[in-house]
């Protein structure tokens, strides 16, 4: 069998019907193009979520009070007062996989400056908190140990608070009031932007945890613990050690349920990644359907073409073409249609993706694997949908085919 000749014959046959060949390819072009675009959008959003999440620190670990049972009554975890400062100290002492740990107490309310006010949250933390949550100090300084011990009325403010209360004036050295407690601003946090869930990470005030505990909330417990693992690979170990330390300091017996929860940022990253994976799959599947429709279009045209070219097939058989030659010709025609269509579709898809990325500034990622995959799928479609019409053509009887009207 001479494959080069078969390809030439098929190419000539397609050339005779350029417009129809193009229309047939259009289905594949659109199908492949949309697969490429959809996968690029899906992958892009996954990557941007991952980037934002790791911007928050992939080593981040939270511990917060969990739901507890008191005499058969399940209590919500928001009122739980089970976490103490001693827990933090114990973690600091007992957990080698933890590099930094900080208590966290929160309150929300109005921050007031003169006649201006702004609703925000105040976080009571220690000095290590900035490192744990990857906050930078834009200007000024953090708390001193003395300030923490003496419940000093000092704070750092985030960019959003600065913009809304101070405008262009320098906030450092000025005081804002939070729940009627005047707090001297000693520093400004560097800008951090939104997190993966769209929360403004700059809309906050940070004060020593003692200040928030004693002066603002008047509590002795803490609301949660933020820690960071020494490295990303030690995440698992860190979670285990914190759990162990907390169980010990909460005096839980073996078999008792945890009265707290430990979560890590990398778990969250995984969760969001898997959500966007599902989304990618969904988008891919939808555009895959249009690819399938394109394939059926090829089959339809090839099928019609076999009937329309019955006499041509008869002639080819009579001048010495074998059934396998005819089969190959029609199969190659449909493969050429789908592969050409695929190449054009991939090109258009990449162009459309770039245009979208630059005009709408969407995060897009084109992976090699998605390009290769769609190309392979195209060829498979050509073979799969071309096979039946090609078989039909090859099985024609030359005498009947020659007399076909």
């Amino acid at each position: 069998m001479n494959y080069i000749n078969s390809v030439k014959i098929a190419l000539n046959a397609l050339k005779r019907n350029k417009f129809r060949a193009f229309l047939t390819m259009l289905g594949i072009i659109i199908g492949v193009g949309s697969v490429i675009v959809m996968l690029a959008i899906g992958q892009g959003s996954k990557k941007s979520i991952q980037d934002q999440m790791s911007g928050m620190g992939t080593n981040l670990i939270f511990a917060m009070p969990g739901a507890v049972q008191k005499g058969g009554v399940r209590m919500g975890n928001s009122d739980a007062k089970s976490m103490k400062l001693a827990d933090v100290e114990a973690i600091e002492k007992n957990c080698p996989a933890i590099s930094d740990v900080s208590p966290e107490v929160r309150s929300s309310g109005q921050a007031v400056l003169g006649n201006q006010n702004w609703p925000t949250s105040i976080y009571g933390v220690n000095n290590k908190y900035f490192n744990i949550k990857k906050y930078t100090i834009g200007k000024g300084r953090t708390f001193t140990e003395t300030e923490i011990q003496t419940y000093a009325k000092v704070c750092l403010v985030g960019q959003t608070v600065v913009e809304n209360l101070f405008g262009k004036t320098d906030p450092i050295g000025q005081s804002i009031r939070f729940k009627n407690i005047p707090l001297l601003i000693i520093g400004i946090l560097g800008e951090k932007g939104e997190n993966g869930m769209g929360q403004d990470q700059d809309d906050l005030v940070m004060a020593p945890y003692t200040t928030v505990q004693k002066r603002i909330l008047a509590i002795t417990h803490i609301q949660s613990i933020a820690a960071s693992a020494a490295s990303e690979s030690q995440n698992e170990a860190a979670i285990e050690q914190i759990t162990e330390s907390l169980r010990h300091s909460h005096k839980l017996k073996t078999g008792d349920e945890d009265d707290f929860q430990v979560r890590s940022q990398s778990e969250m990253v995984q969760m969001f990644s898997s959500i966007s994976d599902i989304m990618t799959l969904l988008l891919g599947a939808i555009s895959g359907i249009s690819l399938l429709v394109g394939g059926i279009g090829i089959m339809n045209i090839m099928y019609v073409s076999v009937t329309e070219r019955t006499r041509e097939i008869g002639l080819r058989l009579s001048v010495g073409g074998r059934g396998s030659d005819i089969l190959l010709q029609f199969l190659i025609e449909s493969i050429l249609l789908s592969v050409f269509g695929g190449v054009i579709g991939i090109t258009l898809g990449i162009v459309a993706t770039q245009v979208m990325a630059s005009i709408m500034s969407w995060p897009v990622v084109i992976t090699t694997i998605s390009v290769i995959m769609s190309f392979l799928v195209c060829s498979a479609i050509g073979i799969f949908f071309g096979w039946y019409p090609a078989r039909k053509a090859a099985s024609l009887n030359p005498i009947d085919a020659l007399r076909y009207e």
């Binding site: 069998m1 001479n2 000749n5 030439k8 014959i9 000539n12 005779r16 019907n17 006499r311 041509e312 008869g314 002639l315 080819r316 058989l317 009579s318 001048v319 010495g320 073409g321 074998r322 059934g323 396998s324 030659d325 030359p398 005498i399 020659l402």
Partner: protein, 248 residues
């Protein structure tokens, strides 16, 4: 002693249509030697088309033997028959059967595409030579719809010549043409025959059959008459004698 190209012995062909058996050929003996120009004649249903299909290796007989250029076709597979058609036979059809939107040259090249031994350069050269032989060297790149019926049939004849077959099988090759063009085609075939080509020409028109060297008459699946043409027509001379009105 001329070489025997076609030797057919007690050839029978039955068709089964439902429960009825149609005996299309009921034992035919025929021998065609190199350089002959044979007319196969008969009314429709006489078996002449079935005969041509078998001679053209497009169909297999129910019984009997058929030797083409010394090869017994009864023992060949479908693919071997295709090979035989490709190397030893040339077909000319009533309705030309040219590929549309394909140049005359490419149409003539077609049979050679199915011969893997022939490279593209040789293919092109042989197609050009064949078109020259039928007098269409100035029309090589024309599409079939840019050619007259007679020219299209010439392209088809060139296509049948291009693989240098041992015999050309023509099926009512002048059936779609007017008298004058028919004579032109006959002149071309007579010329090819003169140069040594063996031609088998199926027709039902007695005056067309007069251009050939031998006539074989079919009826009801038998050969009823076989005779040499005595006062053979010369197409070139007949063309000269045609009244001028026929040109319009």
């Amino acid at each position: 002693m001329k070489k025997t190209i076609i030797a057919v012995n007690q050839l029978k062909k039955d068709f089964y249509v439902g429960e009825i058996t149609v005996h299309a050929l009921r034992g035919v003996d025929l021998e065609i030697k190199e350089g002959e120009f044979v007319a196969i004649m008969g009314t429709s249903g006489s078996g002449k088309s079935t005969m041509l299909n078998i001679l053209g290796c497009l169909d297999k007989p129910t019984s009997g033997t058929y030797f083409l250029d010394g090869i017994s076709m009864g023992e060949l597979s479908k693919n071997e028959l295709a090979g035989l058609r490709n190397s030893k036979l040339g077909f000319v059809f009533q309705s030309y059967n040219l590929l549309s939107r394909t140049s005359a040259l490419e149409n003539v090249e077609l049979p050679l595409f199915y011969n893997p031994k022939i490279k593209s350069k040789e293919r092109r050269e042989r197609a050009e030579a064949a078109l020259e032989a039928v007098g269409l060297s100035d029309r090589m790149h024309h599409m079939p719809n840019q050619l007259s019926g007679g020219q299209q049939q010439r392209v088809a004849i060139a296509r049948s010549l291009v693989n240098d077959p041992v015999v050309i099988l023509a099926d009512e090759a002048t059936g779609n043409l007017d008298t004058r063009t028919s004579y032109e085609i006959m002149a071309l075939l007579q010329d090819l025959n003169q140069k040594g080509k063996t031609i088998v020409f199926v027709t039902h028109e007695p005056d067309i059959a007069k251009f050939m060297t031998r006539q074989v008459m079919f009826r009801d699946g038998h050969i009823i008459r076989e005779e040499m043409v005595t006062n053979r027509n010369n197409a070139v001379e007949l063309l000269k004698s045609l009244p001028l009105e026929e040109l319009v």
